[in-house]
Amino acid sequence: MELDETALSGLIEESQDTHADAIRAVKEPLDGMVDLGQQARSRNGLDPDENRSFAGENRRRLSATAKRAGGLLAATGIVAAIAEFIGSPAFASSGTDVQVLQTASSIEVLAVATYKTALTLPYIGGSAANGVIKAFATTTMKQHADHLAAFQAATTALGGTKQTKPDPAFVPVVDKAVTSITKASASAGALLVVGLALELENIAAETYVNNMSLLTDANAKKVTASIMGVEAQHVAILYAVQALLKGGAGADITLPPPAAKLPAAAGKVGFPNSFYPTSSAAPATQGALS
């Protein structure tokens, strides 16, 4: 099947035309948060006791998460150091919702940077790339940039400082993965890129699912809820792409895919869970500013 890149671009533009409702879903809560931020600033900040309690709870949760997680978080080897950092007085100095939103921003910063790097590879963003993969990487990077802007706007609306740095726990692992990717062949590299993207997307989705029961501000919840499903959709597509690449069926990564050619099990590879897990969620304060 020939891929018509012009048609694909048209589809993306068409979908973006129907974006107005979705934009409203995030804009309205952000507008509603501005007053809260002004109130917080007028009080010269947020409750330090509440922040310390929240940081302590997250330290306990981080320990439990480290035992369970099998991915990036477990591989960092710096979980203990982060736990120590979270418990330090310097950390417990901003509002709990702000901390959660800063961590979300730090994940988005890393996601944008990772896709940007991936797009410099000839087999992801260059002339040798599969058109669907290239379009997906390009569009997904833009969507993460939108998420970053939304989380940062929510942070400042609540009186906090926006996070512009990547999540410190995941940076070394991503750097190591990128080094491996640059040394790999095109076929092996494409699989490594998809694997890395999949892990980051899952961390983002699981973190935001987990954050829904931690956030206290109604509008911060609305913003997060409008983003977590999108990350889960990225995960679904990446699972499908990964399965096709692993099976040597990269040519079948087309839009639409050749459904009649695919084995029956391909129909369930994109959404393995009835309930979205949180075992790989980043601790809610991991990417917060001190």
Binding site: A22, G248, F275
Partner: protein
């Protein structure tokens, strides 16, 4: 490999081995966590009921019927909107008709339990849609149906069954009846649309509408559910419905992740549930 080869190199066995670890993780970690959340939620509801705490049902009516219908029309087209507006008996119905699945209405539910009942009835509509689609495919009414599409429908239906079981466990643990009825507002729309389905693509488009409504309903539910445990439950389901939607869009040749943010304009309001 040429894209015109008749069979993909990837096999069922390879694909199943890829998902085995995820299945194990799901059963070892996710399901126990969900069970804990459901128990915690039920306990909170019992405590609020025992304390005579009033439920703020009126404040939860964020979306009126008209707004919902407009949203649905955007997803499914004008014909469906007109069918739903007539709001009466379904023109035709999937195999699991409303009457066959009736149950759980008239319990005078409010607050979180009303949200739960709305969710359960919407899941029942999703199950009925997939069930009817699989039956039509099996009967050869949709032409040649790829095996991967059948697997998708069976898996998505199974996941919706898991969801409705979760919702109904909250109801029954709170001393209420399980909801086995379909969503009485959306079902006529589904039935009318299903009556026109002649191809796999048309069935996929209908399923896409249902999945997007489900995802948006849970997203809205996250703003109205009081209990933290209830929020955990709804939050664990919303992304799964949107994943179903992404795969359906992909199969239909539409860009699978069309928006940076998911909205709530097509969400089903808890107030529509027949208490």
């Amino acid at each position: 490999m040429s894209a015109t080869d008749p069979v993909s190199h990837i096999s069922d066995a390879e694909l199943l081995s890829m998902t085995r670890d995820l299945d194990a993780l799901h059963h070892d970690l996710t399901l126990p966590a969900l069970k804990d959340s459901l128990s915690e939620w039920t306990e909170e509801i019992r405590e609020r009921t025992a304390a005579g705490e009033p439920e703020e049902t009126e404040q939860r009516m964020f979306f009126d019927r008209r707004k919902f219908l407009i949203g649905t029309g955007g997803l499914a087209g004008g014909a469906l909107l007109a069918a739903c507006s007539s709001s009466g008996k379904p023109a035709s119905s999937p195999s699991s008709s409303p009457s066959a699945m009736a149950g759980g209405e008239g319990q005078k539910l409010s607050g979180d339990l009303q949200v739960v009942a709305m969710a359960a009835s919407l899941e029942n509509s999703g199950i009925a849609t997939y069930m009817a689609g699989i039956k039509a495919a099996t009967a050869g009414k949709l032409g040649t149906v790829p095996g991967a599409v059948v697997t998708f429908a069976e898996t998505a239906m199974s996941q919706h069954q898991d969801h409705v079981q979760a919702w109904n466990s909250v109801l029954t643990s709170s001393g209420k009846q399980a909801v086995t009825a379909v969503d009485s507002v959306i079902q006529p729309t589904i039935n009318t649309a299903f009556g026109k389905v002649k191809t796999v693509a048309e069935l996929a488009a209908l399923a896409l509408m249902v999945e997007n409504i489900a995802g948006e309903t849970y997203q809205n539910g996250l703003s109205v559910i009081k209990s933290a445990a209830g929020i955990k439950t709804a939050a664990s389901i919303q992304p799964v419905e949107f994943q179903h939607a992404a795969i359906l869009s992909f199969v239909l040749g539409q860009y699978p992740v069309p928006n940076s943010f998911t909205g709530v304009s097509s969400a089903r309001p808890p107030s529509d549930y027949h208490t």
